[in-house]
């Protein structure tokens, strides 16, 4: 079976990702792969409200059969939608009924991998400790607080979603760079290269984060008489708590600012570590190359681009799912320099401004200057446009010898 065309449909999930990849065949039914299904909308009811019509739309378009799911990484805005209960109302239950044959996840989610710094339990401890740290810092600037909390909450493992993914599919693949994804089996005639995640020092570095954040090792708090994060180190020498006197006020306020910045930079690092576990796929179907990088960030790209043959392949990409919702780190310069320019590529950006980062610090997601660059140099599709037009999704159909065709909702 040889594919004749491929369609990529991007759904507006707010801040999150949901892409439906459809491979068309001349003499066989189309096959469908769902790449991520999550949002960061709050509360849960609002999330259901947002994702349910999308789940139903996916069910309709796939005629009740999903061939595979790719859950790029553990963040809620990528897998939160898979939670299957309550059974009637949950979008995850609708997806489960599509009976995917294969579920692809990063190797870090493999239950057989021993617990390490990136395991759900370890990241939960770190995320909870971060929230606790923020809680103790009343002086923290509200914007910094908001960003740390958003990042920490994003990193609280979605236990229900993870459990559901472990049940879905007749087959499950936990992949890393260079391995076969298993998608070739369910998508005949399609080549899939797993570019990432590259198994790396990520695990060791992530392991240091709790120590850098001064988070006590689990189980030691009771036995460590000296360490009480919420109590003065030297109670007998404390002059006062909470109130600043004049000679020290100048520095006191600045220490608080700097402390908050340090926590924020480590929180971002922690978040990036999970992002960098993203499954990165380069899919070739019907003569088209599609790049789905999940939320892989700069360090992951550095590792991927260092692998033999990878930089060359990127020159021929026809469609690029913009990495990490348009953050500057998600499309690092090293990657951008290798992608086709001058309108030779379609880019699809699923994002929402105001959730992560700050414009005044140049950390906003999506990074405005990157969006401008994408708009200039590629044919850009942005979920924010869908939102303004009250559209649920947009799709692009790619076929050999024909210009890309935009399919509206």
């Amino acid at each position: 079976m040889k594919p004749i065309a491929v369609t990529v449909r991007m759904y507006d999930v707010g801040f999150g990702d949901c892409f439906l990849l459809t491979v068309h065949y001349r003499r066989a039914q189309a096959r469908h792969v769902l790449i991520d299904f999550g949002t960061t909308a709050h509360p849960r009811e609002r999330e259901f409200e947002l994702l349910m019509p999308i789940a139903e739309d996916i069910a309709t378009r796939t005629a009740g059969k999903l061939h595979a799911i790719v859950a790029t990484h553990r963040h809620r805005d990528h897998i939160g939608g898979f939670v299957p209960f309550p059974a009637r109302k949950a979008p995850g239950a609708v997806i489960a009924r599509l009976e995917p044959e294969l579920v692809v996840q990063p190797w870090t989610e493999d239950p057989a991998v021993p617990e390490d710094a990136l395991s759900p339990a370890a990241t939960r401890r770190t995320a909870q400790a971060l929230l606790q740290l923020v809680d103790q810092q009343a002086e923290m600037h509200p914007l910094v607080r908001q960003e740390i909390m958003a990042l920490a909450q994003r990193n609280l493992p979605n236990r229900q979603a993870i459990a559901q993914l472990a049940k879905l599919g007749e087959a499950r693949r936990y992949v890393r760079a260079g391995q076969r994804s298993g998608l070739e089996v369910v998508l005949p005639g399609v080549k899939v290269a797993v570019l990432g995640p590259v198994a790396s020092r990520r695990r060791r570095r992530a392991g240091k984060l709790p120590a850098l954040l001064a988070i006590p090792e689990p189980g030691l708090r009771g036995t460590n008489a000296l360490w009480r994060p919420d109590q003065p180190l030297f109670p007998g020498h404390a002059e006062w708590r909470g109130v600043a006197t004049l000679p020290t006020r100048w520095l006191r306020n600045r220490i608080h600012d700097l402390h908050a910045e340090q926590i924020l930079s480590l929180t971002r690092a922690f978040d990036a570590d999970i992002n960098n576990t993203s499954v990165v796929l380069l899919i070739e179907a019907a003569g088209q190359r599609l790049l789905f990088p999940g939320d892989a960030e700069e360090e992951s790209w550095t590792a991927m681009l260092g692998r033999k043959g990878v930089p060359e392949k990127l020159g021929g990409v026809h469609l690029y799912k913009v990495g990490h919702h348009g953050s500057a780190n998600g499309t690092p310069d090293a990657l951008w320099q290798r992608l086709p320019r001058h309108g030779g590529m379609i880019s699809m950006l699923s994002t929402q401004l105001g959730v992560h980062g700050q414009v005044e610090r140049g950390t906003e997601v999506p990074r405005q200057s990157l969006v401008e660059l994408l708009a200039q140099e590629s044919q850009l599709f942005d979920t924010r446009t869908l939102r303004r037009c009250r559209e649920l999704s947009v799709a692009v159909e790619l076929a050999p010898g024909a210009p890309p065709r935009t399919l509206e909702q």
Binding site: Q136, A214, E217, N224, R241, T248, R254, I255, R268
Partner: protein, 552 residues
Amino acid sequence: MVRERELTIIAQDPGVRANGRILTARVILPWEELSAGPRGSRVHVVDYDSSTHTLYQPLPPDPEEGDRFRHASGPELISNPHFHAQNVYAIVMRTLQRFEAALGRRVSWSFGGHQIKVAPHAFGLANALYSREHEALLFGYFPAARGRGVVHTCLSHDIVAHETAHALLDGLRERYRDPSSPDQAAFHEGFADLVALLSVFSLPEAMAAALPRRAPRAGWNLRENAALGLARQFGRELSGLRSQALRRSVALKPSRRLLQRPEFQAPHRRGEILVAAMMSAFVAVWQRRVDALQLGTRKQVADEGAALAGHLLTMAIRALDYTPPTDIAFGDYLSALLTADFEAARRDVPFGFRAALRRSFARFAIAPTSAGTGTSAAAAEPGLWVAADQERGTQLGGNLDYGRVHLEALQRDPQEVFNFIWDNRGPLRLCDQALTRVQSVRPCVRVGADGFVLRETVAEYVQTIEAEAGELAHLSTAVRKPEAMPDSLPVTLYGGGVLVFDEFGKLKYHIHNSLQNGPRQSRRLDYLWRSGYFHPGFQPGWLELWRQGSKP
């Protein structure tokens, strides 16, 4: 008579013990009237902990009996925040004093204020940092591995000295934090590590603790017996986090390929090469002295090592006055080291540090920037910057115009120095299209080769050009932009120099990175372009950001 103050500090870190006790040392500082804190004319210790919102009582002014911790036990030192305040005050002041003595003048903080604020328990984070914007050195604390209490970064001598060195270097060369080249990015870290290592090594107590109790039968092999032993001691308390850098630096085996290896393009790793080259020279000189003087006992060997470490530290600091103010490369620093020492002692005796440094740097493929082709025999020593009156071809010294210069003003007034630069922009080969600013004018006192006191003046100027990338080819500098760089992209070029005037106001050295050096500017732009510096939202990798402030 100059009054002094003697204070107890922890010699290395609390994990280093001698006879089961925490190894301490006593340091001598100039006397000053301290307020509670301690709070002196240059350092203000504020013991505020932002994690627990606690201000600790400041250390009261000196008691009648002097050093109140002289006889304190180890547990008392660890558990008393007053000692922590004293420890940071003493190490910061000692480092500052080292800089001032080496440079022969007062050294300013970069932020313009007089007192740097030091917080020994700033937050519960495994980090310590210098912040120019906050005018402060902040030290964190964190739980020790396996529940063994709390680790205080303020009690590690190397961490305190390292952060202080960052602050002092920033005051002397503010443009060294600019993105420029792999070497410049690495220099801040490498130099701060160097100061930290030599500061600890210059304490005989720390040296002695690292040596075997008895002289080895086969004689002292200092690389094995001492340097590596000392290095191993770094960071015992710090869960092996940042201290690995110091250990690695000392143990790094020389290779001419290291600078090209991908892992040594990262600033913190590249800095290790600079440290390794210096420490290798240190060990070589120490070994030669121990052999030549036939030193046998541990005390003798330790005392000699500490004295040599102090000497090399002075050389390392003094060299800063002979480095170009922008875009430093390791080769520039080597030329500066050699020239500064040559100015202090014409003959490379008795230690032979200059020859050892040349050999050691060469083993890491670091060549001095200057070929040292002065016209006189005295200046023909390889690697030295060429003095103004000895430059071949240009005869810079002879072509200079001093008509408008007044000696008194030249020694302290930036405008007067600018007048000199303006009148001599031709012979000094400055870029006429650039903006020029004199950054500092610093009178300093040195002891000359004949033992007499010299009053020299060191002035720094910086030149900048702001242009669009497309314009670069049309500049007199003929800079080549990276091929893919858009023509409309705004870029800034830097150049600058140090002018060393002798006691008569005559130019002695002009050490500069010319803005008109097209190949260097092209290399810099290429490096920044490849590093993604011009990419939207460029930020150094988190680890780099963290390491800029990170000790553990």
